[in-house]
């Protein structure tokens, strides 16, 4: 089998693992990781497709698309983690209030 096909199949498998993982987990961080994995899978397929002609330079267009895709995926990850973080903070505060203890983050102020 051609090397590109090996990597393309690998990408397809990663995509499936990520996509199914995304819908079978409840933990938000795990789901964010899963979507990241699915994204890497798609990008791997694209880069593998760029390498189909064994001689000469690879097709630069998919490479550029993948670079854009990585940026988008990093942005989505950062936003997702930020939301999950805030939710965790709200929960922690609520829990602290309900047990009568002080806000666990009360020591923190703005920089």
């Amino acid at each position: 089998m051609n090397p590109w096909a090996v990597y393309a199949l690998s990408g397809v498998a990663m995509f499936s693992v990520g996509l199914v993982g995304l819908f079978s987990h409840e933990h938000p961080v795990k789901r964010i990781l899963a979507s990241n994995i699915a994204g890497s899978g798609v990008l791997l397929v694209l880069v593998a497709l760029a390498r189909r002609e064994p001689t000469g330079a690879p097709d630069p267009v998919p490479h550029a698309l993948v670079l854009t895709g990585i940026v988008v995926s990093v942005s989505a990850t950062a936003l997702g983690v930020a939301l999950a973080r805030r939710i965790a903070r709200i929960d922690a505060t609520a829990k602290a209030e309900s047990t009568g203890a002080s806000d666990p983050e009360a020591g923190g102020g703005s920089a």
């Binding site: 090397p3 497709l49 929960d91």
Partner: protein
Amino acid sequence: MTAALLDACLALCLPLLAWLVLRTESLSQSVVLFVAMGLLSALAWARLDAPDISLVEAAVGTGLTGALLMHTLSWTDERPPDVAARARHRPWAVVAMAALTGMLGWAVLSLPSDDPGLTREVDAHLAESGVEHPVTAVLLNYRGYDTLLEIAVLLVAVLGARAVNPRSERTTPEPSRDPLTGELFRMMTPALLLVAGYLVWVGEHGPGGAFQAGAILAGGGVVALLTTRLGTPRMSSWRVRWALLTGPLLFIGAAVAPLFSGRALLEYREAQAGTVIFVVELALTVSIAMVLWMFFPGMRPARAERSGKEPS
């Protein structure tokens, strides 16, 4: 022969690792595995002759994403216990995975196996693009519009992330008390600046460019947040806003300027294309570094320190 073995091994391990990341019960384990997966995918990009992508993976994966995920470990245990992170083992998940892989694999394998894609078209116009590196030509000239929108994506994400967590979460009184990390930061800074500058410059004729350089600078920024007294930059500071937005403004300006002389959006004059692209990349490097840096939510103390267990 060995090369084929290497490829096969790498290609097999990536999905396997992905599966492990999602299957494990503990979140800390999956984060470490995820970082390892980033390394392996950087090797895969390298094997597929995509050094540009490998560079980005190296810069983002080890620098920013790694740090971001480590940060999540410090708070996710406040959520329902780690057990909740485990996949609910359901037979349908495995069946769905296999079916999806099979169907998609079938489509992928029926693609022609020696298609050069758009290589020829890209090469034919490379001389007009103002840069020598084909990927940079696609990214900033042929499909520069995608990149313009991608910058908007970055801005939106940082705006959203800052909007939900506006304050930097610093609670350790003196992170810089640790002489070791402070020294580390001092030693890293010149090297980081040098390598970032080199990557912007080299992007015109080889793998490299604004995003890679920005990601490296952001990595340095994260170390600075963790080892010095610096807090996460805040949107309310006008200096931060200018650092963040000069690049996008310049890019928009360069994009619309051709409209006023009867050309299309982003249609640079051939003679000026090289200069315009270089200036835009330079300005974008700063903005991208700022955005990636500001993705990092700031810091909070390790639990052991807070409860006073730190050995004196």
